[in-house]
Symmetry: C2
Subunit: 226 residues, 2 copies
DNA sequence: CGCTGAGTTGACGTAGGTCAAGCAGAGTGG
DNA sequence: CCACTCTGCTTGACCTACGTCAACTCAGCG
């Protein structure tokens, strides 16, 4: 019943909202409530694997998570990075399209398919899941746009996107490795590194200690990412 | 009120389904009903432009449609192709992210934001919109995966995906130009052409007349697209 | 210390882009 | 019916952005 939704047609979803509900707020960074447990994952361990049944949602409490997929020849593609407060694990099919792994030691809140007592969704949860879906779609679309561009543009765009997801305006704390970024952007680790040093030499950014980056001239970045 | 939904939080959506509804079928290729008008667009004309308010849905009746976006330097990126029976125009934001254009002379059914008589969505429509959203997300995800690969893999994947969307099992009728395909795959027209001739020389495919292609050895294609 | 794993840098190779030349089919007009 | 263009496609010769491979640096950490 619950699994049904996450994979699923809208029917169960709609039906489940059909009684008791109250007007709710749509959460940008979701705040879906019926939590189950907070679990710790250490760096580079699996949270779920590609192909596993998609039965729960997950919320990053601390640390960072990546979703990824391995190709036959060993290449790896990263689906997305999730930072604290963000929810992942929502799928369009019955099973997970990507694996999810902890980028750094992380705490993850596992959200049992958020069903209210009588086996029906409450309205607020429905709103949140809908928002989540929209959010994922937007993300995927932006990603597609990013992949059409040059290495420098991709890296610039990545930095901007990361900065926007952090509170701290112009200092970005990257939890992931160069390899992770490379796999996300469809580049190699060396190219990412080169682009960063190049951006630094133009003093568009300053690399403090390889994972702490200051965006000095955001305008230039934005112009690059266009 | 109607516009609100397409752009929108789930709230209106949910509220609108709250009375009279009946269990409905979820349409793979949507069959949303409250049509308004069928409009003809001739080849290469705009259906809507990037940035226009997203207030309707559109269904391809005949022909083919592409969504695309132009970059500052004139490069073009194609978001998706839509074939007869498919619905486009659903957005995650208030305004269209891409422009939509007719690939060939096309008939398009314009669906006014599908609101039932009393200003509320009926259940069936809600199911369909939900399915549509999932479908768009899946598409975007597949696309991201495709963009991580080599030119040959992309072209192979593209042909397979197109074939799957057509009834005719192993003969594909491509409505779009090489340039369109190239912009979709993030390649150049020349590269697309080269990959096609290469696939033909391996007799994996047969190019009948540049837009009619026969997939001779689907297995090989699948292996390439991996 | 040396060891390990992440990052940077350099030298070189290649997939795919760029530019430019054909070429075939569809109109169009004589 | 043949020239005559036009547009889309193919093909070739060359170029470049990025990948590959390998050396080197540096920060932790026993």
């Amino acid at each position: 019943m619950t699994k049904v939704f996450l994979q699923s047609s809208f029917s169960q979803f709609a039906r489940s909202m059909h009684d008791e509900w109250s007007p709710g707020v749509v959460a940008g960074r979701g705040s879906i409530s019926p939590k189950v447990a907070t679990v710790r994952f250490s760096r580079n361990t699996d949270i779920y694997r590609e192909g596993d049944p998609a039965a729960q949602l997950y919320k990053v409490v601390s640390g960072a998570v990546r979703t990824c997929k391995f190709l036959a020849d060993g290449r790896r593609q990263i689906g997305a990075f999730y930072l604290p407060g963000e929810i992942f694990g929502l799928e369009t099919e019955e099973r997970h399209l990507f694996s999810a792994e902890a980028v750094t030691d992380s705490e993850v809140l596992i959200i049992e398919p958020p069903i209210v007592p009588f086996g029906r969704w409450d309205f607020e949860v429905a709103c949140q899941v809908w928002a989540l879906m929209r959010h994922e779609l937007k993300r995927a679309q932006d990603r597609v746009l990013l992949l059409g561009r040059t290495a420098q543009e991709r890296v610039a765009g990545f930095l901007l996107a990361m900065a926007e997801r952090m509170q701290s305006s112009d200092q970005v704390e990257l939890p992931m490795s160069r390899q992770d970024i490379a796999d996300y952007l469809g580049l190699t680790l060396e190219t990412v590194s080169r682009m960063l040093t190049q951006l630094e030499s133009e003093s568009t950014i300053a690399v403090l200690e390889s994972k702490r980056i200051v965006l000095c001239r955001r305008a230039s970045l934005r112009r690059l990412a266009a």
